[in-house]
Symmetry: C2
Subunit: 193 residues, 2 copies
């Protein structure tokens, strides 16, 4: 999505440690009208698939997932980070490692909201090592749901989460894929799509 | 909003300790098409105000705020819960007490995204003691922004957050106000609006 690439080039801030800040329009201040364009693009990309529900994870994935939900006309379930590992029997549960915060998060979805009847589109704002998406796929499989695909706003293509998911057979559509970025110069190179 | 009251009556689960669970359509699974109606209603209620930005707090406020943002055609800023009180000079900062989790959360908004030019609509899913909204108002005032009003999906009218805000002069519009609820019978009584 050329418009997203241009926006990242203009407003993204590359920091040391492979960090890209897009706080001005995605991660802190959310440009809702731009999200609307991204939602329309996800809908175009996954047209013809039987998606009946979107699955995301709190917090910053919710905004894009909600707008995508509006374009698909389907509900959005967000996985919750739990403070405790004592979770009871009424939830699907997985552990997602965060490289950003260097910790493990217990993540849950109520069994009430995912079932074998569900055809899921997993949406998140960023894809790097793929831990969050792999965790959501794990939860989907526990529920017996079908994963129709994965929709990502910004993929860090130089980290291996996206390509690993594609090798595993998942359809991953990222609206922008960063092939390389340089904290010293601020330069960002996108993968041709 | 009669449709919200009916939905709460049908799907809401009243639990001991003044807890109302609306996980099936607001807090965990989000009925996006219903959110769209709530967003339209907020837009109708605050028509004629110079709202140029929506302020909410992660995580469960984001969904409703995003859809409202689409109706107003304005960006949404979400306040972030911070793991540390060591925050630096580039953020507005407040502390919000959570009665649900019985802890204090450090909450921040980058100084880049709020300014004296902003006319804010504060949006959240629930209003009970009002701690979250009071915290967001504190942040708005630190930024010199104007608070045009507060839009809430579900207000617990038997707790005093909403009425306190109204006494302080804020315009608070709640789409449903619960006057009383009973965990033993499941009965919910709404305030006439």
């Amino acid at each position: 999505m050329k418009e997203l690439e241009e926006r990242i080039r203009r407003e993204g801030i590359v920091k040391a440690g492979n960090v890209l800040r897009v706080d001005s329009f995605i991660n802190h201040q959310m440009d809702v009208l731009f999200f609307d364009k991204m939602g329309a693009e996800f809908h175009r990309l996954f047209a013809g698939t039987p998606v009946n529900k979107i699955l995301t994870i709190e917090a910053s994935g919710i905004g894009i997932a909600i707008i995508a939900g509006l374009h698909f006309g389907v509900p959005v379930v967000f996985a919750k980070k739990s403070r405790s590992s004592n979770l009871g029997d009424d939830v699907y549960h997985t552990v997602i490692h965060s490289y950003t915060h260097n910790n493990d998060n217990h993540v849950v979805v109520s069994k009430d909201y995912l079932s074998p009847a569900d055809h899921l589109l997993i949406i998140d704002d960023f894809l790097a090592n793929g831990c969050a998406v792999e965790g959501l796929i794990d939860i989907a499989h526990q529920a017996g749901a079908t994963v129709e695909g994965v929709g990502i706003a910004v993929e860090k293509g130089f980290q291996k989460g996206g390509d690993k998911l594609r090798e595993e057979g998942y359809r991953v559509e990222s609206l922008a894929i960063i092939e390389a970025m340089d904290a010293a110069t601020g330069e960002i190179v996108f993968r041709e799509q």
